[in-house]
């Protein structure tokens, strides 16, 4: 137990983190690939077509995991930011800021796959469906965090300011979600949009969980890779970086 705690504390040191991130990101990517491959194969070829939506419902297997990732990554970003603000740990600042572009990417995928799914369902490429609208606002929150981080020159202040914004964003996100749901319901009288089967048949669960786990593993690999790069950039003048330069990337 003690050694685990000690290892955890050691990870806060930039050179230790660099070594961990190098191995860790490779491991997570390698673990993610078979899970994702199996999930994609199951989703595309094994699961039978939905009796209402035909094959288009297969988009669910990329849309839903991406949506869950977009929210999960935002929450994780806010958590890292909170730790970084309270305990002033450099590595946590780096991790928080590395989450942002990945989360924004998943949000974008959610919006695009949602739009592509909506085309055969609603007949238009875009509908102000409350869930999609909230995802769009979430995308802007991500852009705000990234934009603020890039606008301030001093890296540590930038990470802390963007981190504070992320924390405020995560606190307000349920409020935004609730208000957009209320706004969507103001115009009652329209049929409830079908956006996926309301209950998941057992045969559909496996590919979904595979995709959910696969995207999380992929995210872990990507996060460590980006965090490692940011960490190296920040610490460029230090001795340990000079020593690490000799090793392969």
């Amino acid at each position: 137990m003690q050694s685990i705690v000690r290892w955890f504390h050691l990870l806060g040191s930039p050179p230790v983190f660099d070594r961990f991130a190098r191995r860790g990101s490779r491991l997570f990517y390698l673990a993610a690939l078979p899970v994702l491959a199996l999930g994609l194969w199951q989703a595309l070829f094994v699961v039978p077509a939905d009796y209402q939506q035909g094959d288009s419902f297969r988009i669910l297997f990329v849309h839903v995991p991406s949506a869950w990732m977009s929210l999960f990554v935002f929450a994780l970003m806010a958590l890292y930011a909170a730790i970084a603000l309270v305990w002033k740990i450099k590595v946590c600042e780096v991790l928080a800021m590395a989450c942002a572009p990945i989360g924004a990417g998943f949000t974008l995928v959610t919006l695009l796959t949602g739009s592509i799914w909506g085309r055969p369902m609603w007949g238009t490429w875009w509908d102000w469906d409350p869930r999609l609208t909230t995802e769009l606002i979430l995308l802007f929150l991500y852009f705000g965090v990234i934009g603020l981080y890039m606008a301030i020159e001093e890296r540590r202040s930038a990470a802390r300011a963007a981190g504070l914004l992320a924390i405020v964003g995560v606190a307000l996100l349920p409020v935004i979600r609730y208000s957009v749901d209320w706004w969507g319901s103001l115009h009652q009288g329209q049929t409830i949009r079908l956006f996926g089967p309301t209950t998941l048949d057992a045969s559909m669960q496996l590919p979904l969980w595979l995709m959910v786990i696969g995207t999380k593993l992929w995210f872990a690999g990507s996060l460590l890779a980006k965090a490692r790069a940011d960490n190296l950039q920040r610490e460029a003048g230090k001795d340990w970086v000079q020593r690490a330069l000799g090793e392969a990337p």
Binding site: I102, S222, A225, K226, A229
Partner: protein, 60 residues
């Protein structure tokens, strides 16, 4: 109604994100390492220049 195009498009978007993400991380890492290497070279050059005796000639 055939949904093939839509399904392919959606999955392509998803895979594209993963690929772009990996490539982006790789590029970032390579740039960070390259910048650190150049910084090291500049520091070495400065150290070497400092150990040489100062030239008494005016260099234009």
């Amino acid at each position: 109604m055939t949904y093939l195009g839509y399904v392919v498009a959606a999955y392509a978007v998803f895979v594209a994100l993963l690929v772009v993400d990996v490539i982006g991380s790789r590029l970032r890492l390579r740039r960070a390492l390259r910048d650190a290497g150049q910084r090291q070279q500049r520091a070495d050059a400065r150290r070497r220049a400092a150990t040489q005796p100062p030239s008494l000639e005016l260099e234009r």
